[in-house]
């Protein structure tokens, strides 16, 4: 370790309480940002679970519709045959879709309600833990978390799309913090809509040798009035929407975390520098250049922030672990992008926090060594 690094480390850890408070403060501040990012990333993962797990390679919706959340997509039923006719399309399943509430007794919950044809090869529940994976007229499959909360089970009835439906299956992995996915029969959904020959989306499976991207482009050019996207693009749009909706909250929390972290580190390093002002003078008198002393200050800032970052990361990881086992419809996902962002945050905090102490060190008179005072 360099002389500067050694001096920085020893100076920081000499007062362990102050160092612990500093690291704890930084960890708390960075945890705010890390945890919030993880929560939003987890929610985004959950919100796109249906898109990711429905089995479609390409999603075809009404022209201009690029995601599921908070949209209405209506296409004439004839579009389904048009899509099937596009080269590279191996299979196409129409679904009806709406955001609605499902209720049982006093329990009401927001849900993506999906109307599934009887012969659907895609779009249905992918993990049914109890009952049937197929829904007929007057039937519904709900998420087991909702069923548990509402106190209903197979054979009980719930209200969806304004009609009573009997639970025939319980799925898992189909709920998020915000909503769940419920499956009803295509015919029931269509009847509730007045029997109009429309579909919301056409889910497409591409032929083994075909590219999803190419097939999506072909559908977009050959079938009028639709927007076709690969599953990946559709999912990305969905995530982007969620993040856009949350951008202000994330920005505010990030700013709070940044300011708190900056204040804690700046104060700690400033106090540490002030306490060792005479020793910086001694080092100058002994021949240390200002650059060496600046590096000592910077190293102290970076060490504090790095330790705080690691503790914050560990805390967020522990939080994610606990939440995952708490039975909540919440997932914390720590992404590489978030780590990079918070890492950069930390570097900026360390740099800014060093400015005042560096100014202080630069003004220390080496002749201070001849003044009488408490010294080791």
């Amino acid at each position: 370790m360099s002389a500067e690094g050694l001096l920085a480390r020893r100076s920081l850890t000499r007062n362990r309480v102050r160092f612990a408070v500093s690291v704890g403060g930084v960890a708390l501040a960075l945890s705010l940002t890390l945890a919030l990012d993880a929560i939003y990333a987890g929610v985004a993962n959950q919100l796109t679970t249906y898109v990711d797990r429905a089995g479609a390679d390409v999603w075809v919706g009404q022209a201009g519709v690029r995601n599921l959340h908070m949209v209405a997509s209506w296409l004439p039923a004839s579009v389904v045959e048009g899509v099937r006719a596009v080269p590279g399309v191996a299979d196409a399943t129409p679904i009806l879709y709406s955001t609605d509430t499902i209720s049982a007794g006093n329990e009401r919950a927001v849900a993506y309600v999906v109307g599934l044809p009887a012969d659907a090869t895609m779009g249905g529940p992918w993990d049914v833990v109890e009952g049937s994976a197929r829904v007929g007229r007057g039937e519904i499959i709900v998420d087991q978390g909702f069923a548990r909360t509402a106190g209903v089970s197979i054979g009980d009835t719930v209200t969806a799309l304004g009609r009573q439906a009997r639970i025939v299956g319980l799925s898992q992995g189909t709920a998020s913090l915000v909503n769940s996915v419920a499956f009803v029969s295509f015919d029931d959904f269509q009847a509730m809509r007045g029997g109009a020959p429309v579909v919301s989306f056409v889910l497409v499976k591409v032929a083994p040798a075909a590219s999803s991207q190419a097939v999506a482009a072909a559908i977009g050019s050959e079938v009028p009035g639709v927007t076709a996207q690969t599953r990946s693009d559709f999912s990305t749009q969905e995530r982007r929407l969620v993040m856009d909706m949350s951008a202000d909250v994330i920005s505010i929390i990030n700013a709070v975390g940044f300011v708190v972290g900056l204040a804690v580190v700046a104060l700690t390093v400033y106090v540490a520098t002030l306490a060792r002002r005479r020793e910086y003078g001694v080092l100058k008198a002994l021949g240390a250049r200002n650059g060496v002393l600046y590096r000592v200050v910077l190293a102290q800032s970076f060490l504090s922030v790095a330790a705080g970052f690691l503790v914050g990361l560990a805390f967020t990881g522990l939080l994610a672990f606990v939440v995952a086992r708490a039975g909540l419809n919440l997932e914390l996902s720590i992404s590489a992008a978030s780590l990079i962002k918070v890492g950069l945050f930390s570097a900026v905090i360390a740099g800014l926090a060093s400015i005042l102490p560096i100014r202080q060190v630069s003004s220390v008179d080496p002749a201070v060594v001849f003044r009488r005072g408490a010294a080791a």
Binding site: A3, R276, E279, K284, A285, L286, G287, A367, V369, A376
Partner: protein, 284 residues
């Protein structure tokens, strides 16, 4: 080529301007040879520390020149002074000024590292030096665990680690008891005589005169003309014979800093070692 380690010529230092200007050092000249121990004494506020700061390149003189090993350090730019301080000077302070967060070994090694030595080389060199100074068992101690004498020995090791030409010591025995003070004085003399380093000491401590090759008296920022000094047998202050209060007893003349000391002396007994007047203090 000069054989002098330090050559101070007509050096002055003035603080402030106009009517409020204070001349802390006034046209002082001093030459120090290799291996010489020079003691600078004088009352508080006489300019000793200002002079020491200028000799150590910590303060720029307002007049005159200071040469160290032939290099005029008073003319060097600020950017070059740290290297000079690091490699040419060794500082020893009254308050020791050790770095409290570093161990004994690290306090010494860091100065070698600052001068460019690798970590391993610096630590080995520091360990050898500290062991030579009797601190081999204290290498991993923090300064707060050391006695005053041990701290000063660490400071001496730190001052020697880069083999400087000149050791500048500010009141090196002030915070030490008599026995340890003598030990430190012997060490400083050894540094000069065995290692060939020049040592300039600023101190009020009369005991240091025993190890000095030359004693200089600084007062009001200037070395006084050749004067004969004596020690007040009561308070042990150095006093000028010509200006001192004097008294005769048993055929001997004694010199005092004040009438109070004289009266106390005449009413009491004479210490054995105060019968002889002090050595002359010469100014070059």
């Amino acid at each position: 080529m000069s054989t002098l380690t330090l050559d101070v010529r007509e050096v002055s230092k003035r603080f402030g301007d106009g009517e409020t200007a204070v001349k802390a050092v006034d046209s002082v000249s001093l030459a120090v040879e290799p291996g010489e121990v020079v003691l600078i004494m004088g009352p508080s506020g006489s300019g000793k520390t200002t002079l020491l700061s200028m000799m150590g390149a910590l303060l720029r003189p307002t007049g005159g020149t200071i040469h160290l090993d032939g290099t005029e350090i008073s003319a060097l730019t600020e950017g070059r002074l740290p290297d000079i301080r690091l490699r040419q000077f060794g500082f020893i302070f009254q308050d020791f000024n050790l770095l409290s967060a570093l161990s004994v070994l690290e306090n010494v090694a860091i100065v070698a590292e600052l001068a460019g030595a690798g970590s391993r080389v610096a630590r080995d060199k520091a360990a050898a030096l500290l062991t030579e100074l009797g601190l081999g068992e204290r290498l991993d101690f923090l300064p707060e665990k050391l006695s005053g004498g041990e701290k000063q020995r660490v400071a001496i090791a730190r001052a020697l680690i880069n083999d400087p030409a000149l050791i500048l010591a500010d009141e090196p025995t002030a915070n030490l008891d008599s026995k340890i003070g003598h030990e430190i004085m012997r060490l400083l003399r050894g540094i000069a005589k065995e290692r060939g380093r020049s040592v300039v000491i600023v101190s009020h401590d009369q005991r240091i005169r025993d190890i000095a090759d030359r004693v200089l008296w600084l007062e009001d920022g200037a070395f006084r003309d050749v004067v004969t000094m004596a020690t007040d047998p009561v308070c042990e202050m150095a006093v000028e014979r010509e200006r001192a209060v004097r008294a005769e007893r048993d055929g001997e003349t004694y010199f005092f800093c004040s009438r109070g000391c004289r009266d106390e002396f005449l009413g009491g007994t004479l210490p054995d070692d105060s019968r002889h007047p002090r050595s002359e203090i010469a100014v070059r």
